[in-house]
Subunit: 158 residues, 2 copies
């Protein structure tokens, strides 16, 4: 489990670096697909990971902060760093015993839905990789080479 | 490990179904980013998963088949089905003991590179999710709703 989170965190940092060479108006520009802009995608990835991990920790889920308050590269990076302090210890201390614990959530219709902890963790992993795939298309539209999505060659298993 | 593969296989089938409502010329049209077209992306996902799994099984890696021979929805689906017969038993029989086994590959410069089996498996998982993210952007460009990328709500943990 940890390795795929570490992969996502590395790739996210690589995209933050990639963003440094791109004018902020391009980072904020509304694009087709996904959640609509490069910076909003990165913000959304951070927010979703953070919210789910808080739920798994049994802490109250915060309301989604308004993107407008984070709409710059520096602020999204800061948000990611802040959330990471909560997320990382939980992911690192993950054990297979936690896999089948149940999280009960209430949906918008007032129904209770049960999730396995292992299900949520994999959902969070897949969520980030999926959105990063969208960034790679937008990157080519901008005429820029995207960050590599390779998991091999990152030193994660050295 | 298995759950994320099962997620990918489900999502891939959903995309095959999605493709049924799209004219073949749109499926084959060259697009910006990724490997360039919707059908070639699906073909590439299947081929990469298959090739790596054969390597992990110690079988000789086949040459990448020319996409031209598979350039229709029916043929890519058939290719996926055929490869799946080799891939699924290996993934299902995965145990944590195999994680740290080493696969040695020779790169194009003649150097030997060592990978952990667990590293390759996660690489294959991330590879498919990443490319599916690209399809979701192209789907919106076509004015169509993409297949959901959610891992929760698929009955994978029931």
């Amino acid at each position: 489990m940890l390795k795929l989170f570490q992969y996502n965190w590395q790739v996210r940092e690589d995209w933050f670096t990639w963003c440094e060479d791109v004018p902020e108006e391009e980072l904020l520009k509304k694009r087709t697909g996904g959640v609509g802009s490069i910076l909003y995608t990165l913000f959304h990835i951070v927010d979703v990971e953070y919210s789910w991990i808080l739920s798994l920790k049994g802490e109250p889920e915060p309301e989604e902060p308004p993107f407008e308050a984070y709409a710059s590269l520096a602020r999204v990076k800061e948000f990611s760093k802040l959330c990471h302090k909560e997320v990382k210890p939980f992911v690192i201390s993950w054990t297979s015993e936690i896999e089948s614990q149940t999280l009960s959530e209430t949906n918008s219709s007032g129904e209770t839905i049960n999730f396995k902890y292992g299900e949520i963790m994999r959902h969070v992993i897949a969520h980030e990789i999926h959105h990063i795939g969208q960034l790679s298309v937008w990157s080519r539209e901008l005429g820029k080479e995207p960050v590599t999505a390779n998991l091999i060659g990152r030193g994660l298993f050295d």
